[in-house]
Amino acid sequence: MGRIPMDYLLNRLVTLFLTVWIAATLIWIIPRLSPVDPAEIMLGRMAAGAGTVANADEILATLRARFGLDDPLLVQYVKYIRNVVVFDFGLSTASFPTEVSALIARALPWTLGLMLISITITFFIGNLLGALMVWERSPKLVRVAIPAAMVFTSIPPILSALLLMWVFSAQLRWFPLTGAYGLFVEPGWTWAFAQSVIYHGFLPALSIVVVTFGFWALGMRGLMITVQGEDYTTLAKAKGLRPRYILYKYMIRNAILPQITAFALKIGLLIAGQVLVERIFAYNGMGKLLYDAILDQDFPVIQGVSYVIILMTALSVFIVDLIYPLIDPRIRHGD
């Protein structure tokens, strides 16, 4: 514990940098292995829109030059890396000529908001329920109800989202069907807008929570069983400590440690996991952006979104590495 040593920080930073660099390189290589020519796709789209295109070869050549596809690979790579550093992923081919970074900047806050809220709720609910499944003083009802609720975990997110929509939006009409905020609300830092956002975000968040809390609950259950058998839990009881105090300070506090690492790793994965949920609720976040980009073969957007996902995962792992010694005294920086 205590201050973070400089060499440890440097070490972690270098790891962070290398991870992101290698990932960025892979993102660049993979589309180039594909036989699809982005310039042809654009031309195809123009042709589909206008019926015919005159000077097709000329336009193709211009597009290639414009996108830098004629340059030697190494030049393309160096340019790419230089641009990626400043989050410049070029122009979207599907929403030409919008900048990819602008698309991401528009979508990211929505996803971050929805995702961070829903995975934080899931993390707390899941772990707490998992812990209560093991705690000997939990009410019987809790011990029966939680495993029953786990059924939802086995439902794919698309189905659970549709189910929730059908019940709460179509039948009960409690929540809106689509969108991230109301049609007649002006976006801005107003209470009305915030209300609308929460109102619209509730169902997508709930559908994510419902299908993912089981992951945490089951993991926590296993960890809690181990902790329950530990000698320190027995001694805590023999010390006459209050049962709730034992649950929090002796059991959950120890069992949660591996879950925190898993939490950091999940952050990046969740954008990907959120794709269909956002699509179904027509929620304009990163997931929907990625979904549309894949359908449109919009490579720059796919690259940009993937890069952001990787960056977020790497950053969250970096942060956990730094704070871990604060939550587990057995781990020390630099050891």
């Binding site: 001694l235 023999a238 105090y245 120890n254 005294p329």
Partner: protein, 575 residues
């Protein structure tokens, strides 16, 4: 004055195979300030009885019959208290000092926090200054500096952790302390210090003490009265003097006689004919040194063990003395920092794949924990069959089967009873014997046995050591016996090396080294053994501490005392 009355208590465990009567009709009173030992083998009900008084029985166990009265609560039966009332009894009236001191402290809380939370749970809000004063005082009373309070459990040694547990157990000055094998994980020197500490603080606060254990020697040196338990029954109760000097029950006699003593009668029968191996050096250390970072685990050491006449070489010492490091160097799990380890003239860390395979077959190991050595998903015969087939020794299924049966018989097990069982269905002693049988099936030349009997019951230790000794006589296998138990080393070995801080400080035949130690460290080790003999005083904790301190400041301690040689084993210490 009586502080605890246990009347006609029976404890049952409902299982799928019917009700198990763990304790039957147990009656006993604990007078104030008196120390009572509960002795018996695993499964005898000694821990279960003590835990029943704290209402801490493991599920699904329950008290089927009887009453438990705690004098300071008036005539209330402890068994009738509600959960909250019971919670207030724990630690305040009856405190518990657990067996596994290694894991008994919460790893993410500082030591003082774990003393404070106990105080707060029983006294409500207490000023920080007062808490600090009390934790400092109680740590000092168990011989720990108060700075220990600021540390986390992983920063403490095993002996220190056990003292912290004692500090927690006495901080509220309870009527009764239940100590469940508090020293079984500690080496003899630390054991003596911890046990003396426990006795001192217990006497100071005037509490009663129930000491649960299986070591007759430790009991003789620690308690006033002794309760002998077998299969849930109290078979004998009396003063420790009466029980040890004049045991009445057959089982008590057996428990006392099964304790191996230095200089006592040998439990080993040597065969008239000893099978011989191939001549020539079997295992050699050539200037082997092992360092972990700046810590030297093993100082330069050379030896050569000849394979013609099989021998048992014992390596003894405290935990941290480097004996297990030596074992892992011999097995090639860990390369030496300097020097070479050779088996039959080949460097074991530079073998080709084929040679390495032969080496693995020829050098087998038996480890301490018989519970962790089996894959719980397979029947035990799988563990026996697998290496036998893997090393190409099996000619047919029938051959494998007969080899397994033969090996089981060699270690005194009935193959029909054990082979088709799952590990959890067997006792620790049975499992450890199966590990020996497994090693035997591969006809090894060398067996590394690292604390093979320290986790099995006392009465079985002798049997398993006899099995191991037989491997030497009947199968011509040389054995390296790594242990902290000097009495067994005295009986089974041909040669003994005493390790202290990675150095061999005394070496020679056991009759000399252990029977008449010359090096101050060996002397300290021998003095620390608790004897089941009331006329032999264990000495005080201060003596032990002084002995250790004298060793630390003395450069001459690093000089090896050679006490004689045995043919076929040459030892050289230093580069």
């Amino acid at each position: 004055m009586t502080i605890l009355d246990i009347k006609n208590v029976s404890i049952d465990f409902p299982t799928s195979g019917g009700i198990v009567h763990a304790v039957s009709d147990f009656t006993m009173s604990v007078p104030q300030g008196r120390r009572i030992g509960f002795i018996g083998e695993s499964g005898s009900g000694k821990t279960t009885t003590a835990l029943a008084a704290m209402r801490m029985l493991a599920s699904p166990g329950f008290v089927a019959n009887g009453e438990i009265h705690l004098n300071s609560l008036g005539q209330t039966n402890v068994l009738n208290l509600n959960d909250e009332e019971m919670r207030r009894v724990r630690l305040k009236k009856i405190s518990y000092i657990p067996q596994g001191a290694m894991n008994s402290l919460n790893p993410i809380m500082r030591v003082e926090d774990q003393i404070w939370d106990g105080i707060i749970a029983h006294e409500g809000h207490v000023e920080k200054v007062e808490l600090q004063r009390r934790s400092d005082a109680v740590l000092e009373s168990v011989g720990l500096p108060k700075t220990v309070g600021q540390l986390y459990p992983h920063e403490l040694s095993g002996g220190m952790k056990q003292r912290v547990c004692i500090a927690i157990g006495v901080c509220l000055e309870p009527d009764l302390i239940v100590a469940d094998e508090p020293t079984s994980a500690l080496d003899v020197i630390t054991q003596r210090q911890v046990m003396q500490t426990l006795r001192d603080v217990q006497a100071k606060i005037g509490a009663g003490l129930i000491l649960i254990g299986h070591d007759m020697g430790l009991m003789a040196q620690s308690v006033d009265d002794l309760a002998v338990m077998k299969l849930g029954h109290l078979v004998e109760f009396g003063t420790v003097k009466q029980i040890i000097e004049n045991p009445q029950h057959e089982y008590t006699k057996q428990l006392i006689s099964s304790v191996p003593l230095v200089g006592g009668e040998s439990f080993i029968e040597s065969s008239p004919e000893i099978m011989r191996g191939a001549p020539g050096p079997l295992l050699q250390f050539d200037n082997v040194t092992k360092r972990y970072g700046s810590v030297t685990a093993l100082h330069p050491l050379s030896f050569s063990l000849d394979g013609e006449v099989p021998k048992i070489i014992s390596v003894v010492g405290q935990s941290g003395s480097g004996k297990s490091t030596m074992g892992s160097l011999m097995l090639g799990f860990n390369p030496p920092t300097e020097g070479t380890v050779t088996f039959r003239g080949k460097d074991i860390n530079r073998m080709s794949a084929g040679e390495a395979l032969d080496f693995r077959k020829d050098v087998q190991a038996v480890f301490q924990d018989p519970y962790a050595c089996f894959n719980p998903f397979y029947r035990v015969d799988h563990a026996l069959k697998f290496p036998f087939k893997k090393f190409g020794l099996a000619k047919s299924e029938a051959h494998t089967q007969s080899a397994m049966e033969e090996a089981c018989v060699a270690v005194g097990l009935d193959p029909a009873l054990v082979l088709r069982r799952y590990p959890h269905q067997l006792s620790g002693g049975q499992r450890q014997r199966l590990i020996v049988a497994r090693a035997l099936m591969l006809s090894p030349k060398l067996l590394i046995a690292d604390e093979p009997v320290s986790m099995v019951d006392a009465s079985l230790r002798a049997t398993i050591l006899k099995n191991i000794h037989d491997l030497k006589d009947k199968y011509g296998i040389s054995i390296l016996y790594i242990t902290h138990d000097l009495a067994t080393a005295y009986h089974v070995s041909d040669y003994v090396m005493v390790l202290y801080h990675g150095r061999v400080v005394e070496a020679g035949p056991p009759k000399e080294v252990i029977g008449d130690p010359q090096h101050p460290y060996t002397q300290l080790l021998i003095d620390s053994i608790p004897w089941p003999d009331l006329n032999r005083d264990w000495g005080s904790a201060e003596q032990g501490q002084k002995g250790l301190e004298a060793l630390q400041g003395n450069a001459a301690v690093n000089q090896t005392v050679f006490r004689g040689e045995v043919p076929g084993f040459e030892l050289r210490v230093g580069a």
